[in-house]
Assembly symmetry: C2
Homo-oligomer: 271 residues x 2
């Protein structure tokens, strides 16, 4: 079977061949409004132009204004049928055998933007964000730092997902400057707790799942339907001020030590 190829030039080492096509939100220039796009090679395809040209012509997306929004929330809320339809439409549209975009110079000109010319923004309006403590190796490391080497992994970790809610409003896009937080650290002896810029700024590479249609309050999502709720994944940097965290985290968990900033990558890789 021939490998699917795009008429858009894609270098062999690109993260964004036609087989990937992750979603993001971008501004073509600093004064324009944000709009959804997908990455292909070194280009961003402007989905608002594709929608205006009437090329989303499947049953779910035809006539929808979900790609004329400043974020992906409306598209995500449509659920997996819309996600599958969009992906099929876009993969076909970008393939070397399809004329609709390939042979339309005016539309190509409007919709294919060089990636190094655009500004990427946070692609979703994030309502809540939950950080799970899901790697045993990491749980052991953290437990050793905060509670010592004896039984560093708490018993509950083996039975249920340990997690906390993070501050959704401090999630920023990759490359955004993070201000070093000021706060209290653990006091030594009878001294008052020291206050000042964090001396133990740390970062953690995490994978974050972007969830889509949501569920009604009190109605759980069946584990067999999880795939219908996870739209895709981004890389995440869970910035932490370990000195602030060590003093504040008992009994209600990390708060100021992690609320000052969380970074995500701009492209959501779909599942």
């Amino acid at each position: 079977m021939a490998v699917l190829q795009s008429f858009v030039e894609v270098k062999p080492d690109s993260h964004f061949p036609i087989q990937n096509l992750p979603y993001g939100v971008f501004k073509p220039d600093p004064t324009s409004s944000p709009r959804p796009g997908i990455a292909i090679g070194d280009y961003v395809l402007d989905l608002s132009e594709i929608a205006k040209a009437g090329l989303f012509n499947g049953p779910t997306l035809s006539g929808s204004d979900c790609f004329l929004q400043p974020n992906l929330n409306k598209f995500l809320a449509l659920g997996r049928p819309a996600w599958k339809e969009a992906r099929a439409t876009l993969q076909k549209l970008l393939s070397s055998s399809e004329a609709a975009l390939r042979d339309n110079a005016s539309l190509r000109q409007k919709s294919l933007v060089s990636m190094d010319k655009v500004e990427m923004v946070v692609p979703i309006a994030i309502g809540d964000y939950t950080d799970f403590f899901s790697s045993m190796h990491h749980a052991k490391n953290c437990g050793t730092i905060f509670r010592g080497p004896q039984n560093p992994v708490p018993a509950n970790w083996f039975h249920l997902p340990i997690a906390y809610h993070g501050r959704a409003s401090s999630i920023v896009i990759s490359g955004t400057d993070i201000v070093r937080p000021r706060g209290q650290g653990v006091p030594s002896g009878n001294s008052p707790p020291p206050f000042g810029p964090s001396q133990k700024l740390d970062f953690e590479l995490e994978m974050a799942a972007v969830v889509g249609p949501g569920n009604e309050l009190g109605k759980p999502v069946d584990v067999n339907e999880a795939a219908d709720h996870i739209f895709g994944v981004v890389l995440m940097n869970d910035w932490s001020a370990r000195d602030i965290q060590a003093w504040e985290y008992v009994p209600l968990g990390p708060f100021l030590g992690k609320s000052f900033g969380t970074t995500i990558s701009p492209w959501i890789v779909t599942l």
Copy 2:
């Protein structure tokens, strides 16, 4: 000095005399779209009608569409100058000495709705919500329940605000049914943790502050400017499943034990 009185009849024991005028968001009937209102006696004043009639004629609010929104966020983002102007305008408009609304039967008919006929909704799109552990009496009680009577209040409590982020999407308006959560409790001995409906559902009366204009990431709010950021207060019920909480809360704080629902009162009393 004469006491300020409204032309709207207000019973002597009403929580909503002209001196209070709290803000909420309501639907006049189940099919209409939500719009901002204030409470006066047994009535709700529809602020979208007042805005459409051009009666917000001060320098900040004249021409603004902040009361034509389905929530108060746009009004709150305008900050204290707008809040003061709106309050002064409304108090004047409802006073017995002012003719603009009092003598306009058609506008009164459109804008003054009986409170028992409306449906109140969550008045703000809540981006994040933080729950502070701020009463010493409560900290002692909780510490005794979860960690025993010896030193129930952790040392950090005396030095900084202990808090956690709650789940903003599970905040509902007073009167909404809350589904009893299912989850794991603390195992006894070597048994696996029991799973089932929470047996220790609890509730806590709290006061919640609704904050307004916000601050840029990394730029702290000066404590002397706090009043410019707090729009008003609501009552809050911090529902808790104490059995689920007791098993999950070390080391990252409460999560599933408190994420299933949080109730707020519909009227935001301004400060």
